[in-house]
């Protein structure tokens, strides 16, 4: 498709310009997080810090209960990832391999729940969580996000790629479905399961609305809610705010870089939109 040298150059220039626009806020965040406060709000602004204020990170870490926020987010996201992966793998296995009455209708019903938007479920779920005394608990944070139809869909597609003959042969040899799932499907679909787990982790790590509504105390706040609360308390210490933001973003970027090819494929096939 490329048309000669000038065409290639033009493509590069455009791509580079777009990449700069995309990456700049990230670089600005990191750069600002390392400036002393006076420099952070100076005009004209400096691109890179003149004096590198590494201690901003220590200050930010101590200025709010960030260790607690990180712990909470870690527990919540790990819980959601575990729940989503386990429930999706089981359901996807049934939809891909087992025969049972009402299978098609049930799958349609599952997919139809995608039509129910989050702003509908938010308020009733809050009322239910409160009535069950799950307000301000990990149970209340995790369970409402604990199943994902898109993950079931993604895994089912992946499982359907495993030859049906393999299943039939195993059954003839007396292998129970549960054992087939454990011994054959899980190892074969391990990359897919990892993507589902990672996407669920990222989604709940980045979630703001549900933890904002389902928790109220500092001891149960997640990083997103905590970061927002911190932003309302720091007044003009933007360098500290940017340091905190960098810390919150760092784990997700690390996870993304580690598995970016699989994540991008997973997202582009299911069309997940956060």
């Amino acid at each position: 498709m490329t048309r000669g040298r000038r065409g290639v150059l033009l493509v590069h220039v455009l791509l580079l310009a777009g990449a700069v626009v995309t990456a700049f806020p990230f670089l600005w965040m990191v750069s600002s997080s390392l400036k002393p406060n006076v420099e952070a709000i100076r005009f004209p602004p400096t691109l890179l810090p003149h004096a590198w204020a590494w201690h901003n990170y220590v200050h930010a870490w101590r200025a709010a209960p960030f260790p607690r926020y990180f712990f909470n987010s870690l527990i919540m996201s790990a819980g959601v990832a575990a729940s989503v992966t386990a429930t999706s793998a089981l359901a996807a296995f049934a939809f891909a391999f087992l025969e049972f009455p009402g299978k098609g209708a049930l799958f349609t019903a599952f997919v139809a729940t995608l039509l129910i938007p989050p702003e509908i479920t938010l308020i009733p779920n809050f009322v239910v969580i409160t009535a069950l005394h799950w307000y301000n608990t990990f149970l209340g944070l995790v369970l409402p996000l604990g199943a994902s139809v898109l993950s079931i869909f993604l895994l089912r597609q992946m499982f359907l790629g495993i030859p049906r003959d393999l299943y039939d042969a195993a059954r003839v040899d007396g292998c129970a479905p549960a054992r087939f799932l454990r011994a054959v499907v899980v190892p074969l679909a391990a990359p897919g399961l990892a993507v589902v787990a990672l996407l669920a982790f990222l989604r709940s790590w980045n979630d703001l609305l549900w933890p904002l509504v389902a928790t109220s105390t500092d001891s149960m706040r997640t990083v997103q809610v905590g970061l927002l609360a911190f932003s309302q308390n720091v007044s003009t210490e933007y360098n500290l705010l940017m340091a905190a933001a960098t810390m919150v973003v760092l784990p997700t970027i690390a996870a993304f870089l580690a598995a970016q090819r699989h994540i991008i494929e997973g997202i582009s096939t299911t069309g997940l939109r956060g």
Binding site: M1, L14, L15, G18, A19, T22, P25, F26, W28, S32, A40, I41, F43, P44, A86, T87, L90, A91, F95, L98, E99, F100, L106, T113, P117, T121, I123, P124, V127, V128, L143, G146, A147, V149, R164, D168, R171, V172, A176, A178, N206, L208, L209, Q224, L227, L228, Q232, V234, T236, Y238, A245, V248, V249, T252, I253, F256, I264, I267, S268, G274
Partner: protein, 362 residues
């Protein structure tokens, strides 16, 4: 987690071919199982086993997706604060429909959706076309463009609200370097048209500058996602079609307009639907940009300045969480759901007529 061993309790008999679900007819004929011996019972235990696999996900979905839809409908019929109070019937709905704040938030939402969706799609397509060219460093570019999408909206929202900070922000620093008057950005309630021309009334001024900033950030956030989805669609176009068109003399823009754009139209359609729904439901990014501390506001005022960025989800959230009028907020949420559903159906009707599918495969 107790995995259901679907059949192990049912039959200690040696595994016969009759148990293999896919070829029972053939096998049964050969092994000659005595008629009426267990198969119905076994079929039921097997089905029960299968349901046990679906149950965990199914129950969670039932409890936290399906039930809320109905329970929300119930809640919306009451005056509901911390707990249920007086039964109101459809009075909540009637009141929402008479509430100027609700209609205003819908107008803001329409501005937002109209600003966001086409820009995301066009930019996403352009980036995808550029990325699909055979140039060095494609993988690295793709990575960078996709980065915002996996990152916290709160963190990025705070970065942007600092960029747009009226006193120390980068945006005003750039304007000053260009000898242009500084702007108040996210604190500017006046419409962009009014800013450009002056003298326009509040409503003729169009979306506020603050809302335009929110739109820009949203587009920035989602463009990479759209590009990645488009990239997959572009890769699926068979090379022969391009070759054939080029042999017929199609070049550049003509190739794009007559071949590429029609062939990715299913993806465009899909993205348009997804993006519209997503934009109607946007919360975190608007909330952070207009309510987060860096913009100078506070959470209770999210949707400022003067409510010009209060999209409908923010209106619902404020009535629900700020004012604790739970029944009222629920009625507004359900009305939004109905509007959105109607809009999506309309999109599906209009879109299906214009989309070109390749070889029926979709």
């Amino acid at each position: 987690m107790a995995l259901p061993a679907s059949r192990s309790t049912a039959a200690p008999s040696p595994p016969t071919a009759a148990e293999a679900p896919e070829r029972p007819r053939l096998a049964r004929a050969r092994v000659a199982v005595p008629a009426g011996l267990r198969p119905p019972a076994r079929r039921w235990t097997r089905a029960l086993g299968a349901y046990a696999y679906v149950a965990p996900a199914g129950l969670l979905l039932l409890a936290f997706q399906v039930y809320p839809l109905f329970y929300g409908g119930y809640v919306s019929l009451f005056r509901w604060g911390l707990t249920r109070q007086a039964f109101l019937g459809i009075a909540n709905y009637a009141q929402v429909l008479r509430d100027p704040e609700f209609w205003r938030s819908l107008l803001v939402t329409v501005y937002y959706v109209v600003g966001v969706v086409p820009a995301e799609i066009v930019l996403g397509f352009l980036v995808a076309v550029l990325l699909s060219q055979r140039v060095r460093g494609r993988a690295a570019y793709r990575l960078v463009y996709f980065l915002p999408y996996v990152t916290s909206m709160v963190a990025l929202g705070l970065v942007w609200s600092w960029v747009f900070n009226a006193n120390f922000g980068l945006a005003n620093a750039v304007l000053r370097l260009l000898h242009l008057p500084p702007q108040r950005w996210l604190l500017e309630p006046r419409g962009v048209l009014a800013l450009l021309r002056g003298g326009l009334s509040f409503w003729a001024g169009g979306p506020s500058l603050a809302l335009v900033c929110v739109i820009v950030v949203t587009v920035w956030y989602y463009t990479g996602f759209h590009a990645v989805v488009y990239l997959a669609a572009l890769a699926a176009i068979p090379m022969e079609i391009h070759e054939a068109a080029r042999l017929d003399g199609a070049r550049g823009w003509r190739l794009m307009r007559s071949i590429t754009i029609p062939l990715v139209s299913p993806t465009t359609f899909f993205l348009a639907v997804i993006a519209t729904i997503g934009a109607f439901q946007s919360f975190s990014i608007v909330y952070t940009l207009t309510g987060g501390g860096a913009a100078g506001g506070n959470a209770a005022e999210a949707g400022g300045p003067l409510g010009t960025t209060r999209v409908v989800t923010l209106f619902i959230f404020n009535t629900f969480y700020g004012e604790f009028r739970v029944g009222y907020a629920m009625a507004a949420a359900l009305l939004l759901f109905v509007i959105l559903l109607a809009l999506t159906l309309l999109q599906l009707c209009l879109g299906s007529r214009r989309v070109h599918y390749l070889g029926g495969a979709g």
